[in-house]
Symmetry: C2
Subunit: 173 residues, 2 copies
């Protein structure tokens, strides 16, 4: 992961990974036949880790906690190097694109079903709330700001944003 973050997928070499891990090249090749396989296993591994979804008892609590988790992750040095790099490779490599999209979809659905589902059950969001639009509205602006525009978020940003998203979701129900 560190080597990938530092040099990027295009410049990543099995040799450098082996050196960094303090093992021989053959040890790496025994496990993966090429760098694509190696990187895809890393992505799948991370993707399958269950992200503990917040369950605070209220939608506004859940949402604030989720936004904190996501914004911390997006600001992490390794994530902020690896994510754009894999996105770029995905635009050219259908295998990477599919692995990434499957990973994203899994998390996207988990957030949609759990967070939005619970809020609907508790009557905090209307019955017909569209979980797809909801997840786009929750994750999109944060990703845009932190990973694309790379602008810091001020102290009251997450709070304002929670209010905005809640209003947005109530309106789409």
């Amino acid at each position: 992961m560190s080597e990938l973050a530092e040099v990027g997928y295009g410049r990543l070499s099995i040799e450098a990974v082996a050196r960094r891990a303090g093992v021989g090249k053959t040890a790496i090749y025994r496990r993966w036949s090429n760098k694509l396989e190696m990187v895809m296993e890393i992505i799948s591994d991370v993707a399958e880790r269950k992200v503990p979804l917040p369950d605070t008892g209220s939608f506004s609590g859940d949402l604030q906690l989720l936004l904190m988790i996501v914004s911390t992750a997006l600001q992490h040095r390794i994530a902020s190097q690896i994510i754009p790099d894999l996105m770029a490779e995905a635009a050219r490599n259908p295998q990477i694109a599919e692995t990434l999209q499957r990973a994203l979809r899994t998390h996207q659905q988990a957030v949609g079903e759990k967070l939005i589902g619970q809020a609907v059950t508790r009557g905090e969001l209307p019955e017909g709330t569209d979980p797809e639009v909801a997840v786009d509205m929750i994750l999109g602006p944060l990703y845009w700001r932190l990973a694309v525009a790379r602008q810091p978020i001020g102290e009251d940003y997450l709070e304002k944003f929670t209010v905005a998203v809640t209003a947005a979701l109530r309106a789409t129900g």
Copy 2:
């Protein structure tokens, strides 16, 4: 642009660009001393083109038109290849990062000032509407869906989204 979209920044070579443009390598080197300079001028050029901002007379009309323009642009083959690639380079190359961020900020501010400003003047959005949060909420979800998750948008998506964003902005004022 086509060569950049096809092979990506990392693999882009002045030779290939010259071949594609049907000129000699020296013609390219007369104008730019290296590929970084060349690509940065392309970005700045595109960035300085004034995006014609919609002015339909109502915030909901403006917003729907803007969302259509942005979603068409993000789905364009060249944009969907070049943007992730430049984002990845930006994570490693401060010069590219700065050029991209300046370009983004210019557009972001134009959208914020014109669209949100007009809506506030017309009384469609509350006085204190935060243009930064507003632009994140307008561009973020579309970017997330089309450029990151790469999921298509259904027929009624933009309409639902317009309703959601409008409610969100009214709530943050």
